[in-house]
Symmetry: C2
Subunit: 376 residues, 2 copies
């Protein structure tokens, strides 16, 4: 990756597909893999256990192991490390403490959607060669950030892998992922969506910025910007720095909710596909959004420079909402309080309606139908 | 990677370090990461749980969650996929069903060492671009092999990640890893080594070939071979095909041992560092090997062509022993029977002695002292 030269303004819309991810090639494999994976569920029977089939297609896989449920996941950071590498080249700073938090957030924020308490994180740090660790300051930032993020989530860092994969991972790069295991304990904390109903409130928790989804689009935008990554998104804040704000960790909120006696009916981690993730629940429900969260400057900047209309922007990026809690209307105000006490902005943003399945963002006049999200 | 032209015989010794892995750069980071990880163990207290500190430095991380212990791990395949890619180019065949088994073996064979029953595997398949999945036959082989390996291990395939990571993973390549979660149930199955004692027998389970460690060395050897990967290791078996024999899955053995009422005192998965892994237990014990397993032709071939003496070969490669079970001497013959009934070659190969810490392979006159393996 190189810093682009300033160029004439490009006023065409930049879409995610143009940023290099071709879902038409990945999706048939995903469907095949999902079928094969589902067929293995019977293996649990020989151990006296069973899967919760409703967790297939959700953000974490859940198995009933008797006294509680076991939840597990592996998640990749994606391409955000490429932004960190380029910004390090431009500024001389290391961004890997934040990158560590991003990686853990990808796994932990998914795991908690099912009602699980995350317990153990395993690190997967695959480099293009041992020399990646020759930059001791960068390596130490990764270690420190990983430790702090584990502590913020109340998880033990169990260990991990640091393979040197020359010929597979590009020279000078690192492929980061995290595996997380947790338990749903007691089982009544399970939030796979059985309890979701019309009249429930939608509480949106603020994001800190782009988090770790949409980075391919963010990177594809750089050649259009007069100073590349150093273009200010507001005075004093460069685009690259703004992109690298670490992803908010939401596990403290879900744990505090449990201590406050509140069990969400459903949760959605707002990652790829942006607000379309609000359509994740398989049931026939409508979702009416009446109040928007504040828009992080970096996302407003991206929307403007990629020439995305609201439908495209909210269907791709988190646009200020990092995590959605679907809760009993009577609990909604307390949910907001619990999050805010932890320093995470939150608001009652909408409500669940009887079907048909659709999402309406009323303040923007934006609408997504039932075909807007295919995850199963 | 290209197929090498035939060249003059090279009679110098090819060591692992020359094959591209520099542990001097990785090891300081590993030590720092291990300390930071250990510091996070206190996080479990807030959930009412505790880590089993003895599992740090072992092959899987173990947490006491009350009714049983939870074990988890993430493991990388390493560079074996590069051999599969080159052999596919040379022969037109797909080797990814075997590669899937290798990847799962890396995780499952480690997890079972602590006495855990593996329950869930998560797939991590990071490609250099969506086009990796455009080769539908290769993608389907990966899916099919993954499913079959899960079924062979009695685990459910919970899901996973298939990120397209252009700019991080090399174009046309795939970075494969597996995360595995299991439970030690009942807790008396725990085999972290407290019960190991002088007089215990060492049962070695046969390997199927190189498994998935030592592939950097195996690949570095190719330019020395007259027909590269197509050089026969014995009539009718090309070097590349022999390398790609899938790793043996040992979970059926450890589960069958439990059903037979046998709890190993300790286990070692023989991966990187070859037989030096027999020195893994932290205690002051000696290990006397009196009987060798049959040497797979591909490993005999590698030893010969890399000009490794026995000390180097057994200290680097598995040399026919894929997994070691340290058991009460009275159980040893039955352990062998249980493995053989499952089609896995096994033999009582040695015994545990009172210290000092050392490994002696008597039939070869090979000796490793306590400094031969540093994992903690």
């Amino acid at each position: 990756m190189t810093t682009p030269a300033p160029s004439a303004p490009d006023t065409t819309t930049l879409r995610y597909e143009q940023a290099g991810v071709n879902y038409e090639l990945i999706d048939p494999l995903k469907v095949s893999a999902q079928r094969a994976a589902a067929a293995t569920a019977t293996q649990l029977g020989m151990h006296g256990f069973r899967e919760l089939a409703a967790s297939r297609g959700e953000s974490a896989y859940v198995v009933d192991v008797g006294p509680f449920h076991l939840a597990s996941i592996v998640e990749c950071l994606g391409s955000k490390a490429l932004v960190a590498d380029e910004m390090a080249r431009l500024t001389g700073r290391s961004y890997y403490a934040g990158i560590a938090q991003d990686t853990i957030a990808m796994a932990v924020n998914d795991l908690i959607t099912v009602g699980a308490t995350p317990l153990v994180v395993q690190a997967y740090w695959a480099t293009g060669g041992s020399d990646w660790f020759g930059d001791a300051a960068r390596a130490q930032a990764l270690v420190d950030g990983w430790q702090r993020a584990c502590e913020a989530c109340g998880v033990a860092w169990g260990g991990g892998e640091t393979p040197a994969l020359a010929g597979i991972v590009e020279a000078g790069r690192i492929d980061l992922a995290a595996a997380c295991t947790g338990i749903v304990n007691p089982k009544t904390r399970l939030s796979l969506g059985e309890r979701l109903g019309a009249g429930d409130a939608i509480v949106l928790l603020d994001s800190s910025g782009i988090h770790a989804n949409g980075l391919s689009l963010a990177r594809a935008l750089v050649p259009r910007l007069p100073q590349g990554y150093l273009t200010p998104v507001r005075p004093g804040l460069a685009y690259g720095d703004a992109l690298l704000a670490p992803t908010t960790l939401y596990a403290p909120v879900t744990e505090a909710l449990w201590r406050a006696g509140i069990v969400p009916h459903y949760c959605a981690n707002i990652t790829g596909h942006g607000w379309r993730k609000l359509l994740r629940h398989p049931g026939r429900f409508g979702y009416r959004i009446h109040t928007l969260p504040p828009l992080p400057p970096v996302l407003a900047f991206m929307q403007q420079h990629a020439h995305l209309d609201d439908h495209e922007a909210y269907g791709t990026l988190n646009m200020g909402a990092g995590f959605a809690l679907f809760v009993a209307a009577a609990d909604a105000a307390r949910v907001v309080e619990v999050a805010q006490r932890l320093g995470i902005g939150a608001r009652v943003a909408g409500e669940v309606l009887a079907g048909p399945k659709q999402l309406t963002i009323e303040p923007l006049g934006v609408h997504y139908g039932e075909d807007a999200l295919h995850l199963r």
